[in-house]
């Protein structure tokens, strides 16, 4: 067989196989609703390390089949210039950890956000610190590392438009997507 034709055939076969798997999966698990307030630029693949189609895997041995979705997870808030997990954040993360442990098929991306007062560059780094702090807390609470990816959003995607402390407090956050 001509090499190009061979490659095309293999590719088509692979795509068909992936499609079949995708269809089967749809029957096995309820489709995840798109996150509210999502923007056109938000990534749709919560775990970029995986290849397409394998973000949920209902056949993992010992996995638990909860029905929770990412929208059931609480948003975590931070103090000014801080990425430490305070008392309120701990309680919210404990609840999130419980839910993630009970739904080990649920894969999430923790998105770290900042208020508008730092510079663009600093906030991109701070957003990653916040996302990483949330991930580390969840791992410490027994959540599987395979369930959590992280992403920084800096100050580019405020939850609330406003230029006062009440707006800033709502924007210093880690969201689950």
């Amino acid at each position: 067989m001509h090499p190009t034709l061979l490659r095309t055939t293999v590719l088509v076969t692979a795509v068909l196989a992936m499609f079949a798997v995708g269809c089967a999966k749809k029957g096995a698990t309820p489709p995840t609703p798109p996150p509210a307030g999502n923007t056109t630029t938000a990534p749709t693949n919560p775990n970029p390390g995986n290849t397409g189609g394998t973000t949920t895997n209902p056949t993992t041995p010992g996995s638990q089949q909860g029905t929770a979705t990412v929208t059931d997870l609480r948003t975590i808030y931070f103090a000014v210039d801080s990425y430490s997990i305070d008392g309120t954040a701990q309680a919210d993360l404990d609840a999130n950890a419980k839910l993630l442990r009970a739904n080990s098929n649920l894969r999430v991306t923790v998105e770290g956000h900042c208020d508008e007062r730092g510079t663009v560059e600093y906030n991109l780094a701070l957003g990653q610190k916040r996302a990483d702090a949330v991930r580390d807390y969840l791992l410490g609470a027994g959540v599987s590392a395979a369930q959590i990816a992280t992403l920084t959003r800096g100050k580019e995607f405020p939850a609330v438009d406003g230029h006062d402390e009440s707006a800033w407090a709502k924007n210093r956050r880690a969201e689950f997507k």
């Binding site: 600093y122 780094a125 990653q128 995607f157």
Partner: protein, 430 residues
């Protein structure tokens, strides 16, 4: 995943561009103008006369516009206090010279015979012809204006340069470019994503920028403003932000999160061979080269809050820049080498400050509203920055002489993250 090498996906075009860039830019000699301070000196009174139209019947139309462009260029240079001969206004001081000439349009070609006559005798001290396509007549005027600045200051002006910046519409941010006088703002990306922090290559042929256009974490991209086709430069695990080419074009510095924390790295011009320069559990970000290429200014919160630091180009000899001001960020090293601009946090956002490159002589240059992302003009006479000082986030220029900053017209668009291009080619005649 962690060691994914992004350069293997780079198209050959970029490799060629990088090679040309490195070849075209021999290591720059040490600053020859260290004796000249960054910022403006006092302005010399200068009279600009109308250009005399010749050639095609409609030459007068562009001649009148060229008059205004010439006068604006000379005023913006901060070297002169310009009086327009065609505007009736009392001349505050006797001009040192008169600028004018002949404007000839024939078909698709424009010729400017530029002249500078010194007062009081009106002897011609500069006479030079500038030729270009009629469609780009503004560039012809800019070249003359930059030579007039050269005549009186010993260094060419910067009107024949461009400014890259970011335009926000709703939740998207695209990369744009315009002439240094604000003319012809035009988009370079249409990603419907978030772009940030543009930075020019030393020869002005490429723009580095940070973008979410890849769909996941922020990545470093590069494009030529001519082709507008972005190439991925660094898409490593974690985030990739804030790149800046080395003064000799041989590589760049940027912030990467690939080792689990925000650290500063040097990459080669193709985005490969990462060499880690910082190693601290705090946030290290916003790297910026000294024009000599021997040092790098950056922001670190290792002392508790963000502070500008300086290190040697190999990452050694880290020292905090200023101790009399706190919470400092966004360092920008003057092309003259003598001063560093940065922002200082206030209750309402940021003020703009400069200091000597050793951290002494801290000086606040812009206050009021929130002023961010200072970047120097290639002659070190001006700083461009973004500010919401009049209510809308837009671009402003300060001449560092105490005069009020000047707003750049970007058509009412929300503009931020400016980057002033280097000089584009020679300013000599023809």
């Amino acid at each position: 995943m962690r060691n994914r090498a992004p350069f293997v996906t780079l198209p050959a075009t970029l490799l060629v561009l990088s090679a040309l860039l490195a070849a075209a830019l021999p290591a720059r000699a040490d600053d020859v103008r260290l004796e000249t301070r960054s910022g403006a000196s006092s302005r010399m009174p200068l009279r600009v006369t109308s250009l005399a139209p010749a050639g095609d019947r409609d030459a007068g139309t562009t001649a009148v516009q060229a008059d205004e462009v010439l006068a604006a260029d000379l005023q913006y240079s901060a070297a002169f206090d310009v009086a327009r001969a065609w505007v009736a206004s009392p001349q505050s001081a006797t001009p040192i010279a008169e600028v004018g000439g002949k404007w000839t349009v024939r078909g698709s070609t424009v010729r400017l015979m530029g002249e500078v006559r010194e007062y009081p005798g009106k002897q011609v001290i500069l006479a030079r012809e500038y030729v270009g396509p009629a469609a780009k007549w503004r560039d012809v005027v800019h070249r003359f204006a930059d030579d007039v600045v050269l005549q009186f200051t010993g260094e060419p002006g910067v009107s024949a340069t461009r400014i890259a910046f970011i335009v926000q519409e709703g939740r998207t941010k695209e990369l744009w470019v315009m002439d240094s006088d604000g003319h012809d703002p035009r988009p370079l990306t249409a990603d419907r994503s978030v772009a940030q922090s543009p930075s020019w290559s030393p020869d002005g042929s490429l723009l580095l920028f940070t973008s979410y256009r890849g769909g996941g974490a922020p990545q470093l991209w590069v494009l030529s403003p001519e082709t507008r086709k972005p190439f991925l430069l660094s898409g490593r695990q974690g985030f990739n932000t804030g790149g800046m080419y080395a003064p000799d074009g041989s590589g760049l510095v940027c912030t990467l999160g690939m080792d689990g924390n925000a650290e500063i790295y040097r990459l080669d011009a193709r985005g490969g061979s990462p060499q880690r320069l910082t190693s601290h559990r705090s946030i290290d970000t916003s790297p910026c080269w000294a024009p000599t290429g021997r040092e790098i200014a950056f922001t670190s919160d290792r002392s508790g809050v963000p502070q500008v630091h300086v290190m040697d180009a190999d990452g050694g000899n880290v020292r905090r820049l200023t101790y009399d001001v706190s919470y400092t960020d966004s360092p920008a090293w003057s092309p003259r080498g003598d001063r560093i601009a940065f922002v200082v946090r206030t209750d309402s956002g940021f003020d703009l400050w400069t200091c000597r490159s050793d951290g002494s002589n801290t000086t606040r240059v812009v206050a009021g509203g929130s002023n961010e992302n200072p970047r120097w003009s290639p002659d070190g006479r001006h700083l461009i920055f973004s500010s919401d000082r009049d209510g809308t986030r837009s671009l402003w220029i300060t001449d560092l002489d105490g005069a009020a900053p000047r707003k750049l017209d970007t058509g009412g668009r929300k503009a931020m993250s400016p980057a002033w291009s280097p000089r584009m080619g020679a300013t000599s005649a023809r």
